[in-house]
Symmetry: C2
Subunit: 403 residues, 2 copies
């Protein structure tokens, strides 16, 4: 058993107070003392440090009470901003958010990752700079950067691990490259992982086990187990696009195997099937546009894709017993046309105990799931109680705040 490292002075330090205040409610010293079990003098001392760092502010109520010391405090969501980048194969969504997860600015830009990491990331940093300018903020306001990449990532190092569609990115130090330019901590993860995190943290934070399956050009999923991202031993968890479907399809996949889910149910596969029938469809969005225009061939393909996805998810429901399955990615825009097939296959092949309370629905965040998840990942890191304790550096010898 590893030796335990205790720092008793941080057991309920400034960071723990901030964690309580992050729910957005104003609290008095007495409330904070009661919630933490700390002495009021200790609470005051730590609040002073947080006020000095502008992490919390006295509420208007308190200020209006005239002359007396502030009686209540509230988390200052605008003290810093977070930068979030959700990179796809050809396009990226970039956003600036406050600490309450409100999107202050966002931009969808053409940013093909096949130009290599240096050019792609430098362009992203340049766009971030313009967005910050537009908001009247600067790099010193940035408390962290979250990046989602369209391939496997070693989360511990932030480096891509043999990403199939990102030439030149294998092992590239994304974290250091951006961190050097922005001067703030950088966290990197797979794009589907951050989508799952975004849906979980904002739409279903009380759900223990959630799976987000993204159906776009390819197919992959992000997994929340016990409210935490399950990344797997090599960060490769969620690679469901290459699971063999049970429909005995002979479709050849780009991975070299036959009958992979991605080869029969992805946006790319459906667009190819439509092209084979003489219809102009380049990708996922065209398939959904055809559906909306009333094209019955597109509708049939999407419903069949739903059943194939559902067949694979039925196995995963038996294995994993999630509370919620969320369908995201461009094809999720097909709504009930894709969900119907998914539900049909899951209900017919999964066990009743695992499906009786199972929710299956389309993503609520849509295009924004990635940037919101990337920002959530950053906030959980930079607002962790230990990080705040370090940042405000409470001096035990400092005079106790007036009260």
């Amino acid at each position: 058993m590893a030796a335990m490292s205790h720092e008793p002075q941080t057991a309920a330090g400034a960071g723990a107070l901030l964690a309580i205040l992050r729910d957005g409610r104003a609290r008095t010293r007495a409330e904070l003392a009661q919630l933490t079990g700390l002495a009021r003098s200790t609470v005051s001392q730590r609040l002073d440090a947080l006020v000095q760092g502008r992490w919390v502010v006295p509420t208007d109520d308190a200020i209006s009470s005239g002359g007396r010391p502030a009686a209540a405090f509230v988390f200052n969501e605008s003290v810093r901003v977070v930068l979030a980048a959700d990179l796809g194969a050809t396009h990226a969504r970039l956003a600036v958010l406050d600490l309450g997860m409100t999107v202050l600015a966002e931009q969808a830009v053409e940013l093909p990752v096949d130009r290599g990491p240096e050019a792609t990331l430098d362009d992203a940093v340049a766009v971030f700079g313009l967005m910050l300018d537009g908001l009247g903020r600067g790099l010193p306001d940035v408390c962290g950067v979250g990046v989602g990449l369209p391939g496997p990532v070693d989360h511990a190092t932030g480096r891509p691990a043999n990403p199939p569609i990102m030439p030149g990115w294998d092992g590239f130090p994304v974290r250091e490259w951006i961190g050097h330019r922005v001067g703030a901590p950088v966290l990197v993860d797979n794009d589907v992982n951050i989508m799952a995190l975004g849906e979980h943290r904002t739409v279903r934070p009380d759900t223990d086990h959630l799976i987000l399956i993204k159906i776009g050009t390819g197919i992959g999923c992000g997994i929340i187990s016990g409210r935490r991202l399950h990344r797997g031993a090599q960060g490769a968890a969620g690679d469901v696009g290459h699971i063999q479907v049970v429909s005995a399809s002979e479709a050849v996949c780009r991975c070299g195997n036959i009958g992979c889910l991605e080869a029969v149910a992805s946006g790319a596969a459906m667009a190819a099937a439509l092209r084979a029938e003489g219809i102009d469809a380049r990708g996922s969005r065209d398939v959904v546009a055809l559906l909306r225009a009333g094209d019955t061939r597109a509708a049939r393909l999407i419903r069949q894709a739903g059943r194939e996805v559902g067949g694979v998810m039925a196995a995963i429901v038996n294995f994993f017993n999630p509370s919620t399955i969320v369908i995201g990615g461009d094809i999720a825009e097909a709504g009930e046309h894709i969900l119907a097939g998914v539900r049909e296959a899951i209900y017919s092949r999964s066990l009743p105990l695992a499906t009786q309370h199972l929710t299956i629905r389309a993503s609520r965040l849509g295009d924004r799931a990635g940037v919101i998840g990337a920002a959530s990942m950053v906030l959980e890191h930079v607002l962790a109680p230990q990080s705040i304790d370090r940042s405000v550096a409470v001096d035990p010898a400092a005079p106790v705040g007036s009260q």
Copy 2:
């Protein structure tokens, strides 16, 4: 965000000291003070409480130093015992273990669960009584009871949830029934979950993500995600026996579906296939006995079962990216005959990133995995620092131990 409940006096209480000492190394007061950041007087006070409760004892070294106060302390593994029961459909394994996970006594007994919970559990408690007598211990020595059941269990309440092969057990208060008779905390879980926990905690404690698949009369798996059991939303996770195999089998399963893994690769399915060829085989053990006797039909069936299991596990490897897959249950006794097929299918259908460091092997604990896992589950509960803090009830006003 939920209010945080802090009890500063337990931040590094007696339980935290015990957690350090559980690694089996003797420690001095000075070492413990350094590891916890506590004052030596505080360490002494808490050690006194632990010595008084016999949770720790002065080491022989210290005693031999003659007259002076004990200088080093060690965890007392024999201060209490744990009772562990691993119940199968017709047989159970019962064991008494010390707090260092050494099996002090064990017994395999015929105990058909279809007689209902009262008769089954009363018989188990009676056998535990005899085993304790034989060891010269009594019920007051028991710090907890761990029970594994052959069906889904709601772990929070300890009640079986619609278990298919346990008539009369649905919703039965197993925890209260045993707790009332033994007078100690009772923890209940699915039999495969405790097997996975046993393998993880004793054989591979440093592995983050492990799957134990049990191939016996039925097929199921236990899942460790982030070193913790993943039980799923309804405690139904790991029910892989009813996942549809990709080999287009038309075998009808007892669940009513066709092509379930259990219907083609379980010990029951193989025994039925052998009987259809006129061979006397009633269950898993007969199939393995025939293999060992050189029966080529049994060997062929087992290798094919390995490929079917591997086909399903290949999908799970893509989804979950485990570090280790352990094969347990009676059919695991077939060793490489079953492992070869499992490996072949996983390597041919899973992605290289997920298989490059994947370990696939037979259970090291064999028949004992269940009772060792059940005991681990109990120890993690009763030896948790907060539990120990409550049990030793340190009195802050007590005189500080001599030093």
